[in-house]
Symmetry: C2
Subunit: 242 residues, 2 copies
């Protein structure tokens, strides 16, 4: 079972993957403000949330993982490169998460941040901000590295052309792509070698993300300071912070 | 097992679906000139071609189904609305094709032509020329009807948002979309009611397809007159015709 959810305020995709036989579910990149939506979807589908997977420490939104972990008992999983001591599991490159009939493979894809991780389920790749549709994540904060991002993008694009790409965001109404499409027409990929990519990224000159000063500290604590300390009211910490 | 193949000359997608356990395979919308490619792919993957499914009687290319049927023994299946007496099976709206562990459901989707059929496999919808990515099929020949096409498009777009859309063609490098994306940004769908759609289609004023006078007669004979009569050399009939 698969659902693609969207947060309008931050243009963030959240993905639900569940085993229909057992009802076990995981969420990739939930958004704090969408906790009620996510809980309702789980309830309506009769699912039990087992895991929250984060593609990285987000700068544009606070993860819903803190509250989902605290209230629904989900385990919080993030890439080993983040070094987040608050996580239940740090998943390293090549490691897999098994949940009943579902297997998720982790790809360490540093570049947008140094702890970025992409997740492969069957032929569906969840790229976070490593590959966006016709675009890619920026590299000008959080240990961003255009050289690393170039390598990570091309490592993922070595998967079969049919591999579906589900990004962490889209700002133009797109929802899904595939490796073949991104290789053919993504302007950060097609005909762009590493020096050209690095130069292109350096020239972007983007404004600072509006929520970065709130989101990165909260996400570095797996969704909120209270949650990280195990003290309780996850609802209030990120809400106050924002 | 799933493969998306592309014919550069006519920008046509051919889809391969196979059961990995048994090796049984089907092709959707093969192209005559790509017979060798298709046979090679089947051989390399160790597959046996059981069925060729056509989304419609194409005007822009000759189906590979004639030769695949003759040389590889595949059954030729096309929508009941085509009335093609040369077919092995005319599949009607709501009917399914079962091939080992694979089930394909047919949706009669008249509009681009009156015999157009879309095929649903799991959450993957093969729309032929009914829905293209950011576009749709034209309605100015082969019993085309903008009124019917509008109904067919919206019937398909009533499927869940995550349903993947694999079109019959793309001219801009796109390969895959989904129901949610097409509802959001396809300019023939988003914010377009039926009268606006009909007016938009009537104003297109497109040139006549280059191959229509060859392709439609050949495809109306399931890929070639020789094949339809069972007389033999499928290789030459379409080649001569083009």
């Amino acid at each position: 079972m698969f659902r693609q959810l969207f947060d309008d305020a931050t243009s963030t995709f959240t993905y639900l993957i569940a085993d229909e036989q057992t009802g076990s579910a995981l969420l990739i990149d939930p958004v704090h403000e969408q906790f009620d939506r996510d809980r309702l979807v789980l309830e309506e589908l009769g699912l039990t949330l087992k895991y929250v997977l984060e593609t990285h420490v987000h700068a544009d939104h606070i993860t819903g993982g803190g509250r989902l972990r605290h209230e629904l008992g989900a385990e919080f999983i993030v890439g080993a490169g983040t070094g987040l001591t608050c996580a239940d599991r740090l998943i390293a490159d090549g490691e897999t998460l098994s949940m009943d009939g579902i297997t998720i493979q982790a790809f360490a894809t540093p570049g947008h941040t140094d702890g970025c991780t992409s997740y492969l389920w069957q032929d569906r790749l969840f790229t976070g901000d490593t590959i966006l549709i016709n675009a890619c994540g920026r590299t000008d904060f959080q240990q961003g590295s255009a050289e690393n991002l170039y390598r990570s993008i091309h490592r993922l694009l070595a998967l079969p052309d049919e591999t579906l790409i589900y990004p962490g965001h889209d700002y133009n109404g797109h929802r899904v792509s595939c490796v073949g499409q991104e290789k053919a027409i993504n302007p950060y990929v097609a005909g762009i070698d590493q020096p050209a990519f690095v130069a292109k990224m350096a020239a972007l000159n983007l404004p600072k993300p509006r929520r970065i000063d709130v989101a990165v500290p909260a996400n570095s604590l797996c969704g909120g300071a209270d949650v990280a300390r195990g003290e309780g009211e996850t609802e209030t910490a990120p809400a106050k912070a924002s």
